[in-house]
Symmetry: C2
Subunit: 305 residues, 2 copies
């Protein structure tokens, strides 16, 4: 592969930006990778592990002469960063982001950017429950989706270039509009995360079962929830506050269904339960067939008899 | 290791019993392993793959002269099987089970067994989302917990022997009473499973997001739910119907907490969300420290930015 952007500026150096740095190097996709982060500790670690070619103290310095600027900060901080970098952007540069929410990010960022830069919001559907500059790795985006959400009037050539970068990092790129993105993600990610957080909190609260029992006996189901519920608190606070409408809509549907299943348990309606569980099993098969997961037994895991 | 039971009868040949057969052979723990299943197809497959030393057509034949009888059928079928085998049990034999619910199994099974056999209910906290005679493997119980729930008056020597068998299969054995077991499992397994089933069902129902989108973009959170929600429908129907009280109690707590978090999202109370998510993260650390999971990044997974 060959260089797609001469200079890439990563604003924020957590799991997502760190993995981009590794993946861009793997593919030789960037001439120079400049990074910055608000926290001095993060910058220090990033410099120690040689995550970028150059680390700057401020975002304004980082974006200087950059051809691509990646906003990789929590969704709630995107607007502030956009305001900060805006006067220092090179005309013709492309600004993208990696936030889990798109409508709110567009509303926060777009007003700060001048007409002579391209703003192409994005969202790679990949990650782990780890965070920080040491958590990145080059393979994170391999065979994962990256959704691009071009706003009206975006230059198709600029979009095509950003698409090549993500493809070079291993991702499958698709485009959709911001509103639809936020609904799809509310279903596949945001609501499940809130539910996992809730269940883990309930377990912690319960007086008659000790935390150590919950931890010891968490082989099944619950352990997957704790993994999800270990994700970065600031990032997820911002996701929920910025995808309020779609998340609340899905949660409303969820509680409605949950009440119906609770009623089936209470009244002993085994057929209702069996039919429901049979239907959900088919969705899992679809995911395996779509190549998004494997059906190899997971030794460390415990769906359980 | 050496033989602990001369003849073991496995009633039901799914993931749990199949893995027991593999693990007992690995450890040389049983003189002879006899297996049976209600379905002719299951018996045929089990014979083909040589899962047991001998396959019988009926449970009555299987238990003949057996020193240990393992009831490995769905919780709702335990009583019927106990009635069927009871007249054929050897005096001094031990009967155990592997059901996910203990109070209801004891109520269903104990009345059928005579005084001259030992009944020691059990529950290995291990499994995958796969089922059937081909799904078992010898390592399933390695470093997992197996809970034994001896009923009043159980012979300690018989319990010690069953404990040795599970330890020989790799498990860590603990004892607790049936009621507490059912509450602990409602928190760590039963409620999480119902919640996962519900969320997957909601996604399937949603008109504005297609199934194929849900499947394609399920990298984060949702994919873990689909794995849980792919577990055997019959087994789980029986779990919920037979651990009704504890499951409904936990679900009640869950919806209460969920409503509080929904309200925090609606009112924009970021501090409430951040505090909650910080607390749940600590529980995950506890699980990793307790050695029940690793914190290695999971490449196929997607807690996501």
């Amino acid at each position: 592969m060959s260089v797609i952007y001469n200079r890439v500026a990563l604003i924020g150096l957590g799991l997502i930006a760190g993995s981009m740095a590794h993946a861009m190097r793997r593919g030789g996709l960037a001439g120079e990778i400049v990074g910055t982060a608000r926290s001095a500790e993060t910058r220090k670690v990033a410099a120690e592990i040689n995550l970028c070619d150059r680390i700057t103290e401020t975002a304004a310095e980082a974006v200087k002469d950059a051809d691509l600027i990646v906003l990789a900060v929590p969704v709630g901080a995107m607007g502030k960063v956009a305001a900060e970098i805006s006067p220092h952007l090179k005309p013709g540069a492309t600004v993208t982001d990696v936030g889990s929410v798109k409508k709110a990010v567009i509303d926060a960022v777009a007003p700060h950017l001048s007409e002579d830069v391209h703003f192409i919001p994005g969202h790679p559907l990949a990650g782990t429950e780890h965070s920080g500059p040491r958590s990145g790795f080059a393979e994170l985006y391999d065979n994962r989706f990256c959704l691009l959400v071009p706003v009206e009037g975006t230059d198709p050539a600029a979009t095509a270039k950003l698409r090549s970068l993500w493809e070079g990092m291993g991702a499958n790129v698709e485009e959709m509009d911001a509103e639809h993105h936020d609904l799809v993600l509310a279903v596949t990610s945001h609501a499940p995360h809130l539910i996992a957080y809730t269940m883990v909190g309930v377990a912690d609260d319960l007086r008659r079962v000790t935390d150590s029992e919950v931890i010891k006996y968490s082989a099944a189901g619950f352990r997957d929830f704790t993994r999800i519920a270990a994700s970065d608190p600031t990032m997820w606070r911002d996701v929920f506050l910025n995808n309020k409408e779609a998340t609340l809509e899905i949660l409303g549907r969820f509680t409605e269904e949950l009440f119906a299943l609770q009623r089936a348990i209470r009244t002993g309606d085994g057929d209702h339960l069996h039919d429901y569980f049979t239907r959900t099993r088919a969705i899992r098969r679809g995911i395996i067939e779509a190549g998004q997961d494997t059906d190899a037994p997971d030794f460390g895991r415990g769906g359980k008899r």
